[in-house]
């Protein structure tokens, strides 16, 4: 569904991605694990069109989207739940959802999807007229997910959705990820929480220092080693 080939993305002279290739299969949950600074967010931002790659291609359903404007990528059916949620703090929950549907013009469909989001996330319904900045961290994460779903994406990218949340809320986020996937959404998930990620992933990649260093199914690599490499990188020992 999504094929990333040999992507190089840099900040000035620093290459954050040094030729990354990976693939996301339709209907599956694919995870990207790796230590801080490995380039996970850079890859997500490159796929979403916020960062322009120096080189390489991002094929989605056969079309090359590399370097296209974010709007084109959203219209192609890819939505990103960004790192740190990035909700619009002074807009209400309902307005955040409306912003998520910005590229759509089917008023009835948007209203229907909004109700579906409220059904899936009852807490957002209770707070629909509240400013997003007043929500708790977990609620903001739900809102960021719901806002991305308003795109009706075929592929949902999620960048560390569980970071900084209480254990119970993390459980809930992963339950939502499973539910969404069961309902037909393909998911490409970046996680620091390797233990939880390996439980939901059909396939996972390890990214270290801008390069993919492992690709396989959970179980192909001992969890202890995955966790160690996802947190610390492969050069250190436990």
């Amino acid at each position: 569904m999504l094929e990333v080939s040999d992507i190089v993305t840099s900040y000035g002279k620093i290459e954050a991605l040094k030729g990354v290739s990976l693939e996301v299969e339709p209907g599956k949950i694919t995870c990207l694990l790796g230590p801080n600074g490995a380039g996970k967010t850079t890859l997500m931002m490159t796929v979403a069109g916020i960062l322009k790659p120096r080189r390489g291609s991002v094929r989605f359903e056969g079309r090359d989207l590399a370097g296209q404007a974010p709007r084109r990528i959203v219209e192609a059916g890819i939505a990103l739940v960004p790192e740190n949620r990035l909700v619009f703090p002074n807009m209400t929950v309902a307005e955040n959802l409306a912003a998520g549907a910005f590229t759509r013009s089917d008023g009835a469909g948007i209203a229907e999807d909004m109700e579906r989001m409220y059904a899936r996330f009852p807490r957002l319904k209770e707070r629909s007229t509240q400013a997003a900045g007043t929500l708790s961290g977990g609620e903001q994460q739900m809102l960021a997910v719901a806002r991305a779903l308003m795109v009706r994406p075929k592929l949902l990218l999620m960048d560390e959705p569980s970071v900084g949340l209480a254990p119970l809320v993390v459980e809930e986020i992963f339950r939502i990820i499973r539910d969404l996937n069961r309902d037909g959404t393909t998911i490409f998930l970046v996680e620091q929480n390797a233990h939880m990620a390996l439980q939901v992933a059909h396939h996972f990649y390890l990214l270290e220092l801008g390069k993919v260093t492992f690709s396989g199914a959970p179980g192909q690599l001992a969890e202890a080693e995955v966790i160690q490499r996802a947190y610390l990188g492969s050069k250190k020992t436990q």
């Binding site: 709007r71 959203v74 960004p82 909700v87 619009f88 307005e95 806002r147 795109v151």
Partner: protein, 290 residues
């Protein structure tokens, strides 16, 4: 009583300063950059309408106002293209210097168009008065107030009830997330410059109209006053710009009853007081967007 009268007049006319402050603040809110040419462009819009008025004799005043608003809206877009669109936004001073250049350029154009002196400009009902007990209020001041308030309500409706409003607020609060929603930064920025330009052109026309004169010195004077209003109100705050505009208008007219020469001095004192006592402005929260 004279003072009360002056303060009421000041509040009525202060709404034009509020519009100018809103223009500065809107652009700052969305781009986190100052457009120093904004007030000059507003007056340039008024001069464009003056040229039209002189050319086609007897243009109705509402049409003159609309021409000023439209011309300033177009100028707003041109300023966006020349001073922001292709200039590196990461460099904190690049766009600021570009707008200083544009300010000087527009001022020069106004000097040429005006022959370096104040020009007659059509007034709205200049002789009509409304007597209310001991107060004697000019009807055209009431019109200025009404038109300004209507323009502000229209702006609020635009910002809070339309798709463009969602885009504008989204870009102001969280530009990366806005792009992830498919909102174009370029188009939203351009629309903001046009919106604020239209407000500024309307304000410029009303400032000229209530004096029945368009002064060639207005571009600089209004730039300074608009910045003062913006700083007192808090950069990026629309309610702040409104309150500060009325405050500056009231202080100006109030001091005028005592001494015309002390007027601008007192407005400067006002900004000094605010910078010391409340540097973030009336409603400004330093570091917080929107």
């Amino acid at each position: 009583m004279v003072l009360v009268q002056a303060i009421i007049d000041g509040i009525l006319v202060g709404t034009t300063y509020a519009l100018i402050g809103i223009g500065f603040t809107l652009i700052f809110g969305v781009m986190h950059k100052l457009n120093l040419a904004f007030a000059a462009a507003s007056i340039a819009g008024a001069f464009a309408s003056l040229v039209a008025w002189q050319h086609f004799k007897d243009l109705p005043v509402p049409l003159v106002f609309l021409i000023s608003a439209a011309a300033a809206g177009v100028l707003g877009y041109l300023i966006y293209l020349t001073c922001f669109r292709f200039i590196p936004l990461k460099s904190p001073l690049a766009t600021l210097m570009a707008t200083v250049g544009m300010l000087i350029f527009l001022e020069e154009i106004v000097t040429h168009v005006s022959d370096g002196k104040a020009q007659n400009y059509p007034g709205m009902l200049p002789d009509a008065r409304w007597t209310l007990g001991p107060l004697d209020i000019r009807v055209d001041y009431i019109l200025v107030f009404a038109i300004s308030v209507a323009a502000m309500l229209l702006l609020l409706a635009l910002l809070y009830r339309t798709r463009l409003g969602i885009a504008t607020r989204a870009v102001a609060q969280q530009p990366v997330a806005a792009q992830l929603c498919g909102i174009s930064l370029d188009r939203t920025n351009a629309a903001t410059f046009v919106m604020s330009g239209v407000l500024g052109g309307l304000a410029g026309a009303m400032i000229g109209s209530s004096a029945e004169l368009l002064s060639n010195l207005l571009p600089l004077q209004l730039t300074v006053k608009g910045l003062i209003v913006t700083v007192i109100g808090g950069l990026g705050s629309i309610p702040g710009a409104i309150v500060a505009g009325l405050l500056v208008g009231a202080v100006e007219k109030g001091v005028e009853t005592w001494s015309v020469l002390a007027r601008d001095l007192c407005v400067m004192l006002l900004i000094f007081v605010f910078l010391v006592a409340k540097p973030a402005g009336i409603f400004g929260k330093l570091n917080v967007r929107d």
